[in-house]
């Protein structure tokens, strides 16, 4: 698809989508949002980009291949769960720590890491499926991945 309208629109909408995704991600612990939905919104930016400029452009813009992204996400999520185990608590137990920054208290915890992992897995999975379906021609390998949410 080579529509000038869509391509121009993309440049305005994609930053918005990415910011929305990050906003969803950050508010996710206590309010609606979280890693999964943030990942979906983030990936939808790629979908839009792919529709406007073609799958090749998506591949180039991603730096890491979708599967590598999924791998890192998976490892990050499991690692976030493991932190609790090293603290002699059950797997996936949430641990929190507070920092005093110049602007107020910053509360960081393992659920944030877990959510980040989920987000990466979702982005990777959606993108690998997207690329799988749009890259015609070559006989394509089965894409793969698993849901971590």
């Amino acid at each position: 698809m080579n529509s000038a309208i869509l391509q121009t629109l993309c440049k305005a909408v994609i930053p918005l989508l990415l910011m929305t995704a990050i906003w969803f991600f950050l508010r996710g612990h206590n309010e609606p949002g979280g890693g999964f939905i943030a990942g979906l919104v983030f990936a939808s930016a790629y979908v839009l980009y792919g529709l406007a400029f073609g799958p090749q452009a998506v591949r180039e813009s991603m730096r890491l291949s979708p599967r590598t992204l999924m791998a890192f996400g998976l490892l990050l999520s499991v690692a976030a769960g493991l932190i609790g185990v090293f603290d002699h608590q059950a797997f996936l137990t949430g641990l929190w720590t507070e920092f005093e920054t110049g602007f107020g208290k910053l509360k960081l915890g393992t659920p944030l890491l877990f959510d980040l992992g989920v987000m990466l897995v979702v982005i990777g999975a959606v993108n690998s499926i997207l690329l799988e379906l749009t890259e015609a021609g070559e006989s394509n390998p089965q894409s793969q991945g698993e849901e971590a949410a």
């Binding site: 791998a71 609790g84 059950a90 797997f91 089965q142 698993e146």
Partner: protein, 486 residues
């Protein structure tokens, strides 16, 4: 060791394999290392079952529970052994194209799903593990390029997804009714309820879902069209583990229910029908894996029959049968893989002469084949003996008769493979035989599984004691339930 350790190992291995998938040998070694660690943890867990674990330290029944009791740890150990065997076979058996596409990570994801389903104590979590398993097995099935492979994968997917949706519906209804999903909690609340109709409806839905997963009589059609399609290693993995997860889920759920003679006779009937239909279908098949696939169906029938008999030794027999069957069936598929490697075909008419050319292979075949048919002193004999003994104790002579007859027909089927593949003269063939190294790698897991089968036969007392212990741990819930009803 806790209940989630095996799952973490599999997941971490899968993640690392996904990240470093460029180098073939690095992938193989990493995958094997993951399998070995998994086995080590499973052995440790089996020796000291760690009991209940609340994920994320959320208290029961609100958080997700994992239960590492004797039953679950036993199954995880057996699954781990099969996984390792398949990983070794895959060095030869899986094409490099499939390895690049993610064979290794998917095997570990599959192991996560299987072990998760064994260990979880929460119905919805069981659904999630089912889906993880389905996803991984679906990708493993679809790795092939041929039309039949894709066709098998599609049918496998459709039927298993429908089964999952039945399961999910039942879980939703159960939650709406009882307000809990933790298994022990469900058992306690079911004991207090009087509404048999609702229980029967939801129970039937769950039973249907598990029946599709376990490939029971009217709903087994997906199994023989999909299992013979992928590489032999993947076939062995599926044959050993996937249907058995359905049986395990059925056992777990059945132990939560109040005793009910209607349900019991229904399960016995389903088991008997599955045994007979499966074994009869197997007789007409012409490729090794299709014959063996129908025997999975038939053997699952034995387990379900034992579950239906339940009282006395019934549950023990079911659990012992599960372990025996996983080891034997995966082994038979692996032996089939060696035959295919040597002869270039798995159609029984096109094979032959292996008994004189490869006597050791004939021996490797006989161990699981005779065990499957139930000849002493192998594990299958004790498994069948337990089932038949339970049937006799409960005066269910028709079940005993069918069990004996199906055993005989199983032997007939095994003899058919023997006659065609091993005994009759070798047809004209010009292909060079595979190298010694190839055969050694392919045979090693098979030898190990064969040894385990013999050990389980010779030291059957120990195996039965373990099963009995596991059954006793599963049973208290039922005793708890029977009291208020009386």
């Amino acid at each position: 060791m806790t209940a989630v350790h095996p799952l973490m190992v599999s997941l971490l291995t899968a993640g690392m394999l996904l990240a470093f998938r460029k180098n073939r040998w690095a992938m193989r070694l990493l995958s094997l290392a993951g399998g070995l660690v998994h086995l080590g943890i499973s052995i440790q867990l089996f020796r000291e079952p760690s009991g209940m674990l609340q994920l994320g330290s959320w208290p029961a029944p609100f958080g997700i529970s994992f239960l590492a009791d004797r039953f679950a740890t036993m199954m995880v150990l057996v699954a781990s052994i099969i996984g390792l065997a398949v990983l070794i076979t895959s060095w030869i058996d899986v094409e490099s194209r499939e390895e690049k596409l993610g064979f290794h990570p998917m095997v570990h994801v599959l192991m996560t799903g299987v072990c998760g389903a064994f260990l979880t104590h929460d119905l919805f979590n069981l659904f999630v593990w089912f889906e993880v398993m389905l996803m991984a097995s679906f990708v493993l099935l679809g790795l092939g390029e041929k039309r039949v492979q894709v066709s098998g994968a599609l049918r496998y997917f459709a039927l298993n997804l429908v089964s999952s949706l039945f399961f999910l519906s039942a879980v939703g209804l159960l939650y709406g009714w009882l307000g809990t999903l933790q298994m022990s909690d469900i058992a306690i609340r079911l004991a207090q309820t009087e509404e048999r109709g609702l229980l029967l409806g939801i129970g039937a839905l769950l039973f249907l879902a598990f029946a599709i997963k376990a490939a029971l009589f009217p709903v087994f059609a997906w199994l023989p069209v999909s299992y013979p399609m992928p590489s032999f290693g993947v076939s062995a993995l599926f044959a050993g583990l996937l249907t058995k997860v359905g049986v395990v889920a059925m056992v777990r759920f059945y132990c939560l229910l109040p005793a009910d003679s209607t349900l019991q006779s229904f399960i016995i009937f389903a088991g008997l029908a599955t045994m007979v239909v499966g074994v009869l279908c197997a007789i007409g098949q012409s490729t090794i894996r299709r014959i063996l696939s129908f025997h999975i169906v038939s053997q699952v029938g034995y387990m379900v029959l034992a579950l239906g008999l339940f009282n006395g030794l019934g549950l023990t027999a079911c659990l012992f049968y599960l372990i025996h069957h996983i080891l034997v069936k995966a082994n038979l598929f692996l032996v089939g893989g060696i035959v295919h490697r040597i002869q270039g075909s798995e159609k029984v008419q096109e094979c032959g002469g292996l008994a004189s050319a490869y006597p050791w292979l004939a021996f490797l075949f006989w161990i699981p084949a005779l065990s499957l048919a139930g000849l002493p002193p192998l594990s299958g004999f004790w498994a069948k003996l337990l089932v038949i003994r339970t049937g006799l104790d409960q005066g269910n002579f028709s079940a005993v008769g069918v069990a004996l007859a199906v055993g005989l027909l199983t032997l007939l089927s095994m003899i058919k493979i023997w006659n065609e593949v091993f005994w009759k003269p070798l047809p004209e063939r010009t292909e060079p035989p595979p190298s010694r190294r190839t055969l050694a790698i392919l045979a090693a897991p098979s030898v190990a599984l064969g040894l385990l089968t013999i050990l389980l036969g010779v030291f059957a007392q120990t195996g039965i004691e373990w099963s009995d212990q596991a059954a006793q741990e599963l049973r208290p819930q039922v005793v708890l339930l029977e009291e208020p009803a009386e």
